[in-house]
């Protein structure tokens, strides 16, 4: 039997596919669920919450009805060991700011008084095009595939380029040892140390355990909604379709993924 070039290429191609099929099948066949669990440890990371693109909608109407409510802020700061410092030492993950400061340029003096003089809940916008990620020299801040703008505190060198780059003031620098400002610590979450920048991470570690972000879960007025904006059937998409929402400083092109119903 003679093998011409055409036949050789065909057979070689089929052979390559066959060779590649085996490891591929092994890879897909390996189901981590079938591996027996460790006896000593309860694994709580087996059923994570996942999304193509996480986003949040904040209903500021509900926040305005309850101006003294700080449930989300307290929950977040307790869960993540966020210290309490004043003035320039302040560390913020989720905080309140006046409407004028939150949406500067989009406000005017004739708009409804209760809106203009209200406080708005702010947090990291987990931008689609995050400027902080671009400037970070050691890549301590990076964007996950699900859109979360994540921080690797092990890598942060404290240069504060990200603080300069973030147009939303979502980042805080630890000028002091944060443990000085903590009364009770959650041992299951680290503190940060002096010289490190920190911010909201959309509760990545809670999502990994199948839980919603702490602020969303604890809000007694259901003002915060969290979900997959890439899923047309998700609750966030439903709310966005039914309500007119705004984002902070949209003209900058960072594409914030925190939406506000005013």
């Amino acid at each position: 039997m003679t093998v011409d070039r055409r036949k050789f290429v065909k057979v070689a191609g089929l052979g390559m596919i066959a060779l590649a099929a085996k490891p591929a099948a092994e890879l897909f066949g390996k189901d981590i669920e079938h591996v027996p669990a460790g006896t000593a440890h309860k694994l709580d990371v087996d059923h994570p919450k996942t999304a193509k693109r996480w986003a949040m909608v904040i209903d500021t109407r509900k926040c305005r009805e309850n101006p003294d409510c700080d449930a989300c802020i307290n929950a977040c700061h307790d869960v993540h060991n966020v210290p309490h410092f004043e003035e320039k030492d302040e560390i913020k993950w989720i905080w309140k700011e006046s409407y004028h400061h939150a949406f500067s340029g989009d406000d005017n003096e004739y708009m409804p008084h209760d809106i203009l003089h209200s406080n708005v809940l702010l947090l990291c916008n987990h931008c689609d095009d995050p400027p902080c990620v671009k400037v970070c020299p050691p890549k301590a801040t990076f964007q996950r595939e699900d859109g979360i703008v994540m921080m690797d505190w092990h890598r942060c060198i404290g240069c504060r380029y990200c603080i300069a780059a973030c147009p939303y003031g979502s980042r805080s620098f630890n000028w002091r040892d944060p443990r000085e400002g903590l009364e009770n610590k959650n041992p299951n979450f680290p503190t940060r140390e002096k010289g490190v920048v920190e911010k909201c991470t959309f509760c990545d570690s809670r999502l990994a355990r199948g839980q919603l972000p702490a602020c969303v879960e604890v809000c007694p007025h259901h003002a915060l909604t969290f979900g997959d904006i890439d899923d047309p059937n998700s609750e966030v998409r439903e709310i966005l379709e039914q309500n007119n929402t705004i984002r902070r400083k949209p003209s900058l092109g960072t594409k914030p993924q925190v939406f506000y119903i005013v």
Binding site: I32, A40, D44, A71, P190, C203, R209
Partner: protein, 165 residues
């Protein structure tokens, strides 16, 4: 060689001074003393085997921790499967310190001896600092609406809440 005696005397003194640390350790020092970490749960069934075997961990625990750190923080890969199929959450404070809860006798003993100062504990909270349970609750709602925040209990050392990285 009029001063030969002096020269030799001072050479001997110099030699003794130069080798003093060696003599010091031979006579009464601690350098030869064996330092063994104490494993808190060595006899507890189910907790008597580490994620790798002891010999490997002795030399490579720092690499394992670095690998786990990068897996969790940067790749979102949080489950470690051992060679014999046991599964662990890749977590210093939830997994490692669950068995090795005696940081002083387990970590510090060797690190002090080797004069290394890993900076794990500037951020991660060591078991001796696990304080009172912190309970985060939603404030009472005037409307009497049911609060769906009961799962917000945090602060239990072996709890299920947000471990860091």
């Amino acid at each position: 060689m009029h001063d030969g005696g002096k020269i030799i005397l001072f050479l001997i003194i110099l030699l003794v001074l130069f080798t003093a640390p060696v003599w010091y350790n031979i006579i009464g020092g601690q350098a030869g003393k064996e330092v063994n970490p104490v494993i808190a749960t060595a006899d507890e069934p189910g907790r008597d085997k580490c994620v790798y075997d002891k010999e490997y961990m002795l030399g490579n625990h720092m690499n394992v921790l670095n690998q786990w750190r990068d897996d969790v923080v940067r790749r979102g890969d949080r489950i470690h499967v051992t060679e014999d199929g046991r599964r662990f959450s890749k977590s210093l404070s939830l997994t490692c310190m669950d068995c090795h809860s005696n940081k002083e006798e387990f970590c510090d003993k060797c690190h002090d001896y080797m004069d290394v100062t890993p900076y794990c504990w500037t951020c991660h909270i060591e078991p001796s600092l696990y304080g009172e349970r912190v309970v985060v609750e939603a404030p009472e709602v005037a409307t009497g609406e049911e609060i769906k925040g009961e799962d917000m209990t945090v602060g239990h050392p072996t709890g299920t809440h947000g471990e860091g990285h």
